[in-house]
Symmetry: D4
Subunit: 161 residues, 8 copies
């Protein structure tokens, strides 16, 4: 059953947002990947956010660039945790607009913001949220962390020689 909704405002964001999907695949978490634009399909966006819980979603990952309203607007409608990915799109002012318009949400409506273009981390964060009540996933995350550690230690070993 689909647990994570990955949405983005434009298919031009797909190369970035695909990384969220890839890592969810790796953790065997079912997801859907959709184009939902706050600015060009506001009613679709309202509908998507309003029905997210009843459709069984547990977490939403929303990526957007420039005046990036998608994550915040979705968070204004659903009570699910929303993870925001600021995308450094071509019309962005060096990514600052994407970061600030996702991060600086007013009291009452949080967005869990990750680093610029960090869709992979959005996927890992979604996994860590779902892992709270899922021992398999919790263990997978633990292994992932150990693997990362082992890779760096291996590289360090080589460099140290």
């Amino acid at each position: 059953m689909v647990k994570v909704g990955i949405i983005m405002g434009s298919d031009s964001d797909l190369p970035i947002m695909q990384e969220a999907a890839d890592i969810l695949n790796q953790f065997q978490i079912e997801y859907e990947i959709r184009i939902v634009s706050a600015h060009r399909t506001p009613h679709h966006m309202v509908n998507y956010a309003s029905t997210a819980i009843e459709r069984g979603l547990k977490v939403i990952i929303a990526g957007a660039g420039g005046a990036a309203h998608l994550p915040g607007m979705v968070a204004s409608i659903t009570t699910l945790p929303v993870i925001g990915v600021p995308v450094k799109s071509s019309n962005s002012v060096d990514g600052w607009d994407s970061i600030l318009s996702i991060l600086q949400m007013p009291n009452g409506v949080p967005v869990a913001t990750v680093a610029l273009n960090a869709a992979k981390n959005a996927g890992i964060l979604a996994a860590s949220i779902l892992a709270i009540e899922d021992p398999r996933l919790s263990q997978e995350l633990s292994l992932y962390k150990k693997q990362m550690e082992a890779n760096v230690l291996e590289k360090d070993k080589k460099m140290n020689q």
Copy 2:
């Protein structure tokens, strides 16, 4: 008949946004002043924007601070010109978040952004838009400009003595 809708996300923005109302009063333009929050009342916001034209509005002035989504979201729903006022609210990062999240709208959905806290200029811009087909208003704006000029020239005269 009400021609301009002045909206803001929170009544804490009223001291700033009142300046838009004051200048519209001065130009004898009817307006309404409302609290419409993109993040706390998204359905109210969609409704407000969707019915704006049929209710006779010609221009919408929207003020917001922080991750300021109100102007852009209203512009995503209505085809009326939307003037955005970035408000330097208490939780803003020096106003940069307010400016960038209003200004940096994607192609297809413009917001006519004015300076930080410049609700007065939003009112004047609304007047200049309405003046296109309103000779009385056009003349008023012309007089307003001349009065500003005269005031500065008067001050210069005094200083020059």
Copy 3:
């Protein structure tokens, strides 16, 4: 009859500003496209702005980069609505100078600023302003919005499969 004046400080801004012209063409709005530099042709600029109303212009779109004074100076002379397009020119400090020197106009002299390089949005904003008293144009804008929406929904459909 020409209703919109598109002006820019240098022909190096033409690739950006042409997008304003293209969208006005699409909406069948007559425009002129001119080179008017605040810094290199100040008298031409004063003359252009002073005669804009009598020449029948309704809206002026002004693009400029760096210390971008053209939109603000034109707005200081005419009472027409002036839309400013901050251009990220080659000598710009990442576009911040263009944005701030167009946006941060003092009380009394607003410029309707759009996003960095967003000449297309300037054209749409001009159309939405002209549409206030033009039912055909209002309907065209409505169709444009619906078409944008349909395009995104179509892309979402494909991605969802």
Copy 4:
């Protein structure tokens, strides 16, 4: 049973971080509030993060200012979701250092960052994460959202009169 650990680098951050505790109280979520400094008590920090899961914590909220390493370092050790609160401390460069050193985590180690000083939103985000498998909490969040909405609608009603 304590489900949320609220930690901060210094008791000078308490006035901000208390807001996270208050909102968790409101949602009847048990929490602990602790001082854990990445820079002054690194071993305590490692220990706190390493034992978080076995102690039953589900989510960690970490607030810090300046070169704010606490959220990211805790996230490097535990697989629990870590929510970072950038604090605009007295020695901060307008909050930019706090924001960037929490948000910009490398691939593999996400921190769910909220707005500057937004400890209240950190609490709400923690609640929304815990609500995924907790129908009571999910309903509480839904009521909270409705109450926020009702409050704004009430204020709008008054202003509209």
Copy 5:
């Protein structure tokens, strides 16, 4: 005979710009101090700049804040050296708008920009320009520099004891 014109866009800039006048007084350089607004009195500004040379001015000091167009516009009209003083006015975005809109002039039209609020330095720079062909003034500047040096050395002496 008046050699330096000190101009500012608004009398609210006077407390800052007075420091330019004070230092010119100290160097016995005649000046005038005037209010000339690019945005509110564009024709006055054009006239002031156009007649500056024939009126005997040698240097113009122009202070402005926000979207600060006065120094650049005056420089676009006269061939006199124009010294720009970015003023951190109340509506400025921390002074960045004032700095960038004065400094970032395009090729062909320089403005000699000094530090934020540094009207005193504008006065000293004007003196150093006039001193090129004025041995008395050159000597005065030399004495001024020595006096500054002596003051610091004196303070160092005291601290060293």
Copy 6:
């Protein structure tokens, strides 16, 4: 006789700084072009600045990037007007370091700062300073301005057809 000293901290700045030399050539102003590093040749720098007046220099143009101390340090030693050119060197943080470390000089020691990489404008500013007492140069500058204007008007004419 050499009237303008063009100095730079490194020969890597030459492609930028050459533009100052070119424009001085065009105005028939004699100059020298030298490498003087505040950080790598501090004694050479002190010597260059100390002897500038006796060697007949009237204006110094100093270009530097990163922590750009050359213009300010030369200005601390000589009473000649010093024009600073912030260079966006390879190790610069987008040019901000170059701009701020040249512009933000303390009271008593001004540097006439021009735009990022604007060595050409530094040359024109030097010419405008020297023109104060040089009618030929003043006329040349006037012609230069008119030529710039004519070029833009010509381009506007073509575009208008």
Copy 7:
């Protein structure tokens, strides 16, 4: 014997720089505290830096604000390690100028930069440098670290009750 020279450009920086002296006192490291301005006493600065080694200094701590050239210029003359303290002085652009003009030194001439206004940390860094060959000092630093840790642990204990 004096081992550390604490210098600052102006006595207005003393309240900040005194913290460096206080911590050196605490570690029983002899220091001198002097006013040495790169811009107002360049020859004094050159002299101070040139004679630092022969006078027995081991480390120099230099604080400055705005276009802060003192640390970098001293580092250009002496081979001693120079610690730079960016001071957020009254004329600074939010401290950014102080930070960038101290930090961004070119290859060959490093300055060990600490945080904005962090004179205390400059003192601790000086101590850690001197401790390399001084077992007493190394032990003192170790105790200092442990005391910091103990203080935080104590506070955590109280809060945890």
Copy 8:
């Protein structure tokens, strides 16, 4: 005997950090170069920092990008001087995150920060620290400075001809 530890969070930082190694080679200072990630190998990092003194290290150079916690975390554990190199990594926001998260350390835990990507300067700074009690190294640094000076003077000579 190895005196300097050069560490970095990822081997992608090696091209930058190699410059620190190269300059230490040139000064005949023994070093090790290691991969130690604060975020992916926190226990390795704690271990590395904890044993640095007993292993004979005198100075640690740590390079990192983005939310760069490595230098500060190492400094929180060891009392050795830690030199931080902000790396402009691919996921960095123009280097600002790297700079601020290394530089802005809280009171008690300094990091000696050098310029963006300035690993070479980190090496020179390490040498200058070690030179305090090492006359050979002190002389080497003096020669290095003179050689730099000679190189610039030579280039100036050529340009002057």
